[in-house]
């Protein structure tokens, strides 16, 4: 397996792929090293932070990211599904979603509800819906969500498939913490949104 081969499948070099049509809020922070690619529109709402080496791929459908989301390094959003059946829908991340390092969110009508936390290296299958009203789920590191799976609100998915309900009731606190984190990152991450606009 040559290294270039692997690179291709993991994370294509910036500029190699067509730039996606984007619709970015002016307060969005995207590291220069991130990749926005595909044919459909990528919408990113205000105060969202996108770390380096991310890949937002809209070639299978539009990608919508809500307000105050944090997308960490090496995340792939809109990855081609492992499920071969066709379906041309995108990915929606609502507000206050955190996607940690190296998580993969497959394309295909996938919805990540407000305040969800996708752990390190987790994989969200196509068409999965986190939260009935799509809110505040926690997916721990290296968990896999099968395509089409639906999680009720406040679900914690841990130990590779076990579920429980989060009853801490710290939603507000979490959102505030996220806002504060974004506040810091905005100052730290070098960004030039115009690069991503045509």
């Amino acid at each position: 397996m040559s290294s270039s081969n692997k690179r291709h499948s993991m994370m294509p070099r910036a500029g190699q792929l067509p730039k996606a049509p984007v619709n970015l809020s002016s307060s969005v922070v995207i590291h220069d090293n991130a990749v926005l690619t595909g044919n459909h529109t990528i919408n990113i709402s205000s105060e969202t932070v996108i770390h380096p080496r991310n890949k937002l791929d809209s070639s299978h459908g539009r990608v919508t990211i809500g307000r105050r989301c944090i997308i960490h390094e090496r995340v792939v959003i809109g990855a081609p599904s492992s499920d071969p059946t066709k379906g041309e829908f995108g990915v929606t991340l609502e507000d206050y979603v955190t996607v940690e390092v190296a998580a993969v969110i497959e394309s295909g009508c996938t919805t990540i509800g407000e305040g969800c936390l996708i752990g390190v290296g987790a994989r969200i299958g196509r068409g999965a819906k986190l939260g009935k009203f799509c809110q505040h789920c926690t997916i721990t590191a290296r968990s896999v969500i099968q395509p089409g799976e639906q999680l009720p609100d406040y679900t914690v998915l841990y130990s590779n498939g076990t579920r429980r309900t989060d009853r801490r009731g710290v939603t507000e606190l979490k959102n505030k913490a996220q806002a504060r984190q974004i506040d810091v990152m905005r100052r730290l991450i070098p960004t030039n949104i115009n690069r991503f606009k045509e």
């Binding site: 590291h31 390190v120 913490a177 984190q181």
Partner: protein, 192 residues
């Protein structure tokens, strides 16, 4: 190990003996400190792009080995009301396997982190620890010396035996990577 077939000149070799792949992804290099004789393979990622509060945010000791696709990141938390990144310190002879993500506060010396593992934020990994494949070490966990850790969430499942200390030694492995690597030496790279 695919290192043997790599094209000549893939690695940048520094004066202190670091071998860094040209395809490695180091973000915020001025904040990453390598102790020397450390190997960083292609696609390995050290990211301190977002953490320049302290002068150096990733410290890596000697004879460390960062495999393909692994990712080192300083941990961050809300401290005294503000979100702050803390440094990530890694000792000597530390192996980080493919696609592993390390966000620990401290990783001691002689630590083996196998492929696809996740070391959570602010975890403290002491010396002579073996983290098996696919382990998820939860945030804030302390792993004492001579532990074998596995599972999701990670738990100590055993002790490193007395005779197993030498296996953490990375000198041999260091020699197997580089621009002009001699053909593999005595077939002892992987002891029984």
């Amino acid at each position: 190990m695919s290192s043997r077939k790599q094209v000549k000149g893939e690695y940048i070799e520094t004066d202190t003996g670091n071998k860094v792949s040209r395809k490695a992804n180091l973000i915020g290099t001025q904040h990453i400190m390598l102790g020397g004789k450390t190997v960083i393979m292609a696609d390995a990622m050290g990211s301190s792009g977002a953490a320049p509060q302290s002068n150096t945010s990733i410290f890596i000791g000697r004879y460390c080995f960062l495999s393909r696709g692994c990712c080192l990141r300083p941990p961050g938390r809300i401290y005294k009301g503000a979100f702050t990144y803390m440094p990530l310190r890694i000792g000597d002879h530390v192996f980080v396997g493919e696609n592993s993500v390390v966000q620990a506060a401290t990783v001691g010396s002689h630590v083996h982190i196998a492929a696809n593992a996740v070391v959570g934020e602010f975890a403290i990994v002491k010396d002579y620890v073996r983290i098996l494949e696919g382990t998820v070490v939860p945030a804030n966990m302390v792993i004492p010396s001579f532990s074998v850790v596995a599972g999701q969430p990670g738990r100590v499942i055993g002790e490193v035996p007395e005779g197993g200390h030498e296996q953490f030694e990375m000198r041999e492995m260091y020699k197997t990577v580089g621009n002009n690597v001699p053909p593999p030496a005595a077939p002892a790279a992987q002891a029984v």
